[in-house]
């Protein structure tokens, strides 16, 4: 079947199997930042935005996304690089495998929680990012990077 949607601001028409999940369709379209890390719907590595909302692309039937706007890390290069610099400065990156999904959720959190002058505290940040698993950093460096990034980019 055919599905049409917007991917990182550009219209896409593509032929898919009825049971294809969005994760695989996005990879076939060249978005290699989107990866499957766990097979059990909980690691957060496959995070993309559907109409601006962070979702697990491993658990979305591609057939259902007609007409929606999909955003992957490939569509947020500038912002991702800006936040990535904070991760690197805090030594929060080791293998980097989980970073794309993590960055997608940090940027979604910034949009959702940093409104009307509010800046989330460490507890709120931890809770929002709890669905992004990382097996090598221990999270402390990531949290420092996120806090610094939000403070400096949001004031």
């Amino acid at each position: 079947m055919e599905v049409q949607f917007e991917l990182n601001g550009k219209p896409v028409h593509t032929e898919i199997e009825a049971g294809a999940v969005l994760l695989d369709v996005l990879r076939d379209l060249g978005c290699y930042s989107v990866k499957c890390g766990c097979e059990t719907t909980n690691c957060g590595l496959c995070t993309v935005w559907v109409d601006g909302t962070p979702r697990l692309s491993c658990s979305i039937l591609a057939a259902g996304i007609s007409g929606r706007k999909i955003t992957t890390l490939e569509g947020l290069q500038e912002e991702a690089a800006r936040f990535g610099a904070y991760l690197a400065a805090e030594g929060a990156e080791q293998c980097g495998y989980c970073s794309p999904g993590f960055i997608m959720n940090v940027l979604a959190m910034e949009r959702e929680l940093c409104v009307s002058g509010h800046c989330p505290d460490a507890e709120e940040i931890r809770e929002y990012l709890a669905g992004n698993l990382c097996r090598c950093t221990g999270y402390a460096g990531q949290l420092r990077a996120v806090e610094k990034y939000l403070r400096e980019s949001r004031g």
Partner: protein, 251 residues
């Protein structure tokens, strides 16, 4: 993984119901747990074209469409105003924000999962389910009905002045719960619900003074997350904490 032959997004509930009568077809809800199932599905039925993804509030009740997400429950300002942190507490530990943006209320309730925080919570409110064919049924009755091929359209939750509290015990953050516990009080009557025992949640009527004893009347079993004995102990502890919260109005 499941394999899928066809995908249909029905334009009417009748169409969805007709399709769902075939055993080989399946409603997908948010597709969170179904993805991890096995088997072949002839046609997946996507209910997202029916406008059932809203939470609406009137003077007397909330109507929660089956395709509303767990994140909507967590962040809805009307639910917060009426029930305090109850809905935030029963959702925020579930996997992660991205998961809760996909998982649906209807899927959580219809699945009657043994690990469900959501089912545990709704059982202590005046909750009814609206089924397409069978009509409106109290949730406490619905959980005892045989699983059939009807469609759960929405939940109806009364705004009856009830105060409610939700607690769960987890071995680690975002894991499945070892035990879940919800309690509410109205005019001296307490509803106590305990789930993840590891069987599906059930509800019993009691009083503030007898909540801990009431926790003992549930059946507790063992699995990899804990023994029946440990769960029974936890049941008393959580019921005790819920009692304290209700007494202190800390709900």
């Amino acid at each position: 993984m499941i394999t899928v032959k066809n995908y249909v997004k029905p334009g009417t509930l009748e169409e969805a119901y007709e399709l769902n009568q075939k055993r080989a077809n399946r409603i997908i809800g948010g597709m969170m747990w179904i993805r991890m199932g096995r088997g072949n599905v002839n046609t997946v039925i996507d209910l997202s074209g029916l406008g059932l993804d809203q939470i609406t509030e009137t003077e007397t009740e909330f109507r929660i469409g089956c395709m509303s997400t767990l994140r909507q429950l967590e962040t809805h300002s009307g639910l917060k105003e009426t029930f305090g942190d109850f809905f935030k507490e029963c959702t925020r530990h579930i996997v992660g924000v991205q998961f809760r943006n996909g998982a649906t209320v209807g899927g959580s309730i219809f699945g009657r999962y043994g690990f469900s925080d959501i089912l545990t919570a709704f059982l202590v409110l005046d909750t009814k389910v609206k089924l397409y064919k069978k009509g409106i049924v109290p949730l406490s009755e619905f959980i005892r009905m045989d699983r059939d091929r009807d469609i759960l359209e929405e939940l109806i939750v009364a705004k009856d002045g009830r105060k409610a509290v939700y607690l769960s015990e987890r071995r680690s953050q975002t894991d499945f719960p070892v035990l879940t516990c919800a309690a509410s009080e109205k005019d001296g009557t307490v509803l106590l619900s305990i789930g993840a025992r590891p069987m599906k949640a059930d509800v019993t009527e009691t009083t503030i003074d007898e909540m801990e004893q009431a926790a003992d009347t549930f059946t507790y079993g063992s699995n990899m997350r804990g023994s029946g004995e440990y769960r029974k102990h936890l049941g008393r502890v959580l019921a005790g904490r819920a009692k304290k919260a209700l007494e202190e109005g800390n709900v």
